[in-house]
Point group: C2
Chain length 335, copies 2
């Protein structure tokens, strides 16, 4: 196990993305995102994803050189054509104007289409909360979640992320798949030979299973909370695809691009300026009061806390990277 | 069992609200809402709620004569002070301007504070979708849901509702509590002597229970989907209280008003104009395509379908009302 300086890890990943066909702009954004997930202890969206990024770039399914096009959709609306590139550069291209619009009018919707999202979603919302805004993000992905009563998957794991300022530098942030488990967690369980928890997946015949390989091999995931989680999955399909002009999860078809792993769908981000709200005490102070009430009731960990703790430790001690992973990463420079 | 004409039921409820201290404006809105829930087969938010409305009006906890004040918060933001009245008249007061703003800019946030919400939430979003807009509504309520790891309830049942046009007169609409069960369903189970499903509640000592009386008697409800449902509950507290200036669920204190049952908190409604989005096929047509894909996969019932079917039947045959309930309602005219 090596402990790598965060910036050195970002630099290595940047070189890998560039070596595999990404522009310097795209490489920088994806490298910070991926290294950031590893730094924050979110392994399923960290270095574990690098082979998938590289295979997808090599397959020609995603355009690593794409230049997102930001279209003004109104005083509180931006459309972004990610141009078959990654979602993160598309959001980055829209973010300054989106924040300006949210501050000028009270809200702004960012509707991104033709975008590949292969990363955690919390990095998409955190910067907005750090800038004092409330942010809600939704992404549809690829059909791996079975709706209630259905015989085959229609929904993606469709993450929902939310972030809000708490005062000072602190924020509340969560990011959760509508499936009981994220797809990356199933892949990790398969690799490491762990069983899945009860109620997380079905096999190819639709029977409940705890075997991650049965889920990956023609099986499917189940939504959290039954029909309630499924309703949220449906809302996210509508917001991230119908609204943006992106594809639904079940419409993603990469069969002509062997090696492709990134769903090309859409993303919707809603920004709200809480300074417009009606709280006399101030929004961030009120959020902090809620956190205090939760602590007083016995909830020790707030959404995001575990990641913030891991981040602090990694920025101090370096990001722990297995020697085997490091060798694998270095191999990705020679493609 | 009597079958009452919907308009006659509305007229009766209107008279009851007026007899118990509501203004004609408030009475009309609440009567349509409550009769509408009964018509749609949503018994837990229908006539079953009338004794609670009446007791709360009589307790002085809610102001039946309140005149909501709509405050312009920006090109895409409205604040509404419900003035300790019901939430539905406050939303109705803001709705025309909110829709105008959403159509002019692409989005509008309606942040309602000092509002009592004792009804189903789907009636708050349906009219927006029927008018071609996407609507998301969130309401916090009163502390009856235990956060993960906590020893006492902090969250309300905090419903989330979503509605979107599907083309023609059709819409997609869902409305769901963050608890496994709505509080009204627990009350009905207690009255009718049914057990609750597994995992829905705990007793006063925090032990899992299926007894609805144990939940109501110092116990609490659990969020759907464990920590994921709890994260949504937290988001709703932040959006409906911190953003609006309303109270958190755990801050509601009606102890000085015996008989009071309506939480006085806040409500946040986000409106989005999907015509601003990036879909070349058109938003509603795309939503309809998703519904078709779900049907093709084997999901027979869409969110809202059961209510629409009940509504159609009740508008044709009348709303079925028990003679006992009718007598009870008529008794409420003589207070």
């Amino acid at each position: 196990m090596t402990h790598m300086d965060f910036d050195a890890l970002v630099a290595l990943l940047t070189r890998i993305f560039i070596a595999n066909g990404a522009s310097a702009m795209v490489a920088d954004i994806l490298a910070r995102n991926c290294a950031g997930a590893e730094r924050d202890g979110a392994m399923s969206h960290g270095l574990f994803r690098m082979p998938g990024y590289v295979a997808t770039l090599q397959s020609g399914w995603v355009d690593g050189l794409a230049e997102p096009v930001v279209e003004d959709g109104g005083a509180s609306f931006l459309r972004v054509d990610a141009a078959n590139g990654f979602a993160q550069p598309a959001l980055a291209a829209a973010a300054p104007l989106a924040m300006e619009k949210a501050r000028a009018t009270g809200a702004c919707v960012v509707a991104i289409r033709r975008s590949h999202h292969f990363a955690a979603l919390w990095p998409d919302v955190e910067p907005f909360a750090e800038a004092g805004l409330v942010a809600i993000a939704m992404v549809d992905s690829m059909a791996v979640v079975v709706p209630p009563g259905a015989r085959k998957p229609v929904y993606g794991t469709n993450p929902l992320a939310f972030a809000a300022p708490r005062g000072g530098e602190k924020i509340v942030v969560f990011d959760q798949a509508v499936s009981v488990l994220a797809h990356g967690d199933v892949q990790i369980a398969a690799r490491e030979g762990h069983d899945l928890p009860e109620g997380a997946g079905v096999d190819a015949a639709g029977r409940p299973t705890r075997d991650p390989r049965a889920v990956l091999d023609g099986g499917a995931l189940l939504p959290f909370g039954g029909h309630k989680g499924a309703a949220i999955a449906m809302m996210i399909e509508i917001m991230a695809a119908a609204l943006t002009g992106g594809l639904y999860s079940h419409e993603v078809d990469w069969s002509a691009h062997p090696g492709a792993q990134t769903p090309c769908t859409g993303e919707c981000v809603i920004l709200i300026d809480p300074a417009r709200g009606g709280s006399a005490a101030g929004f961030a102070a009120r959020v902090e009061q809620l956190v205090e009430a939760l602590r007083a009731a016995g909830q020790e960990r707030m959404p995001g806390d575990r990641r913030f703790a891991a981040r602090e430790k990694a920025l101090r001690d370096g990001v722990a990277v297995h020697a085997e992973m490091l060798a694998q990463l270095e191999g990705m420079l020679r493609t």
